[in-house]
C-alpha cells in the first residue's frame, strides 16, 4: 500500500534545454571523398537562422554501418583527431550569419575511415547535436560490387550487396519493373553507402504485380534479374 511516507518522493525536472530555441542549418552533412591525401580540405557551412547569437561546439566521433543500413554512432571514440583537424573546437554565429568551417586531412595513413563531426549548440546544458558524416578513402574502388543474396523480407525484396574494395562505395541504380514481359515502371533505387569490405542490404521497390525486376547499376558488373 502506498503511504503518505512516499508521497512526493521525487519530482524530477528534466531539461532538454538551453537558454533559447537554437537552430543552425548545416551543410553538407555527408562528405564523401576518395583519393584523399594529407592536406585535402573540406568546407562545412553553418547558418544561424535565429535572431540570437549562437555558439556551436565541435567534437569528433566515429560511425559504422550495419548490414540493414542503420548508422551506429560512437561518441566516445576520438581517433578521428588522428586524421582530421577542424582548427577550432567552437565557432560563434551572429544572428542570420553563416560561417564556414574548414576540416583538413592531417594524416593519410589509412585506406578508408568514417569519422563524424558533431556540432552541438550548447556545451554545459547540452541540447541538440547534428552529425556530419565523413566517408573518406585514400584509394578508388576498382572492383564492381557483388550480389551475395537476393531474398524476400517482410518489407519486400532485398539484395545483399558486397563491397570487395578497400575503399567505400556508393551504390546507385534503377529498378525496371516488368509485367507480362513489358517494362511498366523505372524506379530510382536511391543512394546506399557500402563501407570498405562490407555488406549492405538494398531494398527493391515493392510491386505485387511485377513478374520481373531488373536492377541496373553502374556499380554492378551485370544487370541483376529478380523473378518475384
Amino acid at each position: 500500500m502506498r503511504t503518505a511516507t512516499y508521497v512526493l518522493a521525487a519530482a524530477v525536472l528534466l531539461l532538454i534545454c538551453g537558454q533559447l530555441q537554437a537552430a543552425v542549418l548545416v551543410s553538407p552533412v555527408i562528405i564523401d571523398a576518395c583519393q584523399v591525401k594529407a592536406g585535402t580540405e573540406f568546407v562545412i557551412t553553418l547558418t544561424n537562422i535565429k535572431p540570437e547569437s549562437q555558439i556551436v561546439y565541435l567534437d569528433w566521433g566515429w560511425f559504422s554501418l550495419h548490414t540493414d543500413g542503420t548508422v551506429e554512432l560512437d561518441t566516445a571514440v576520438d581517433i578521428a583527431v588522428n586524421y582530421l583537424d577542424a582548427v577550432s573546437t567552437y565557432c560563434s554565429l551572429d544572428p542570420g550569419a553563416s560561417r564556414k568551417i574548414t576540416v583538413k586531412v592531417i594524416n593519410q595513413d589509412f585506406t578508408a575511415i568514417t569519422p563524424v563531426l558533431f556540432l552541438s549548440l550548447t556545451k554545459d546544458q547540452i541540447q541538440s547535436r547534428l552529425a556530419v558524416l565523413f566517408v573518406l578513402s585514400t584509394a578508388v574502388a576498382a572492383q564492381p560490387l557483388q550480389v551475395e543474396q537476393v531474398y524476400r523480407s517482410e518489407s519486400g525484396w532485398q539484395i545483399r550487396a558486397v563491397n570487395p574494395n578497400s575503399a567505400h562505395v556508393f551504390f546507385t541504380g534503377t529498378a525496371e519493373i516488368y509485367q507480362a514481359g513489358e517494362v511498366v515502371d523505372r524506379i530510382p533505387l536511391g543512394r546506399y553507402l557500402l563501407l570498405a569490405n562490407s555488406k549492405r542490404d538494398i531494398p527493391l521497390p515493392a510491386n505485387q504485380a511485377a513478374d520481373r525486376i531488373v536492377v541496373r547499376s553502374a556499380q554492378l558488373r551485370n544487370d541483376l534479374v529478380v523473378l518475384p
Partner: protein, 166 residues
C-alpha cells in the same frame, strides 16, 4: 563598257556577295540557338530546432508514471534519423550529482517504451527528406518514480542527435 553594263556587273557582284554571306548569316543564326549546359550541386543539409526548450515533470511518487512530450522541428533534404541519449545521473537542488534510480523512457521508432541511457535510442528511423517548412516531431517521454530515490527535485539532461541516413 556602257553605264548599263556597269550597273548590271555591280548587281551581279552584289548578288554573289549576298550569296556568299548567306552561310555566314546562317551560322550566326545557329550560334544564337545553341544551348548552354548548366550544372550545379545541391549539398545535403540538416536543421534541428527544439521547440520545447525544457520540460518539467509533475511530482511523482514511487511506482507512479508521468508523461511529457518534447517537440522538435527537423528540416532535411536527405533521409534522416533522430536519436536520444541521456545520462544516469542527476543534479540535486544543492548542486550535488547523484545516481538516480527513477527511470526516464522514450517511445522509440518501434512504438515501444525504451529506457534512455548513454546508448542512443532511435526516435525516428530513416525518415524521408522534408519540405522547406520541415516536419514537427513529437517525442513522448515517461518518468517512472523509484522507491530508492529520496524525495527531492532532480535535474538531468537529454541530448537529441540528428543523423543523416547514408
Amino acid at each position: 563598257m556602257t553605264y548599263s553594263t556597269r550597273v548590271l556587273a555591280l548587281l551581279i557582284c552584289a548578288a554573289f556577295l549576298g550569296l556568299g554571306l548567306l552561310p555566314l548569316l546562317g551560322a550566326a543564326g545557329q550560334a544564337s540557338a545553341e544551348t548552354i549546359l548548366v550544372s550545379y550541386t545541391v549539398e545535403p543539409y540538416l536543421l534541428l530546432e527544439l521547440t520545447t526548450p525544457s520540460i518539467v515533470f509533475p511530482p511523482v511518487a514511487p511506482g507512479e508514471i508521468v508523461e511529457q512530450t518534447v517537440e522538435a522541428v527537423v528540416k532535411a533534404n536527405v533521409p534522416w534519423n533522430l536519436r536520444i541519449v541521456g545520462i544516469q545521473t542527476a543534479s540535486t537542488q544543492d548542486g550535488s550529482i547523484i545516481e538516480i534510480a527513477s527511470r526516464l523512457l522514450v517511445k522509440n521508432h518501434l512504438d515501444f517504451w525504451e529506457q534512455i541511457t548513454a546508448v542512443t535510442s532511435n526516435v525516428v528511423l530513416n525518415h524521408p527528406p522534408t519540405d522547406s517548412s520541415g516536419i514537427q516531431v513529437q517525442i513522448p517521454l515517461r518518468l517512472e518514480g523509484d522507491f530508492n530515490d529520496p524525495p527531492g527535485t532532480y535535474q538531468t539532461e537529454l541530448q537529441l542527435i540528428l543523423v543523416p541516413q547514408i
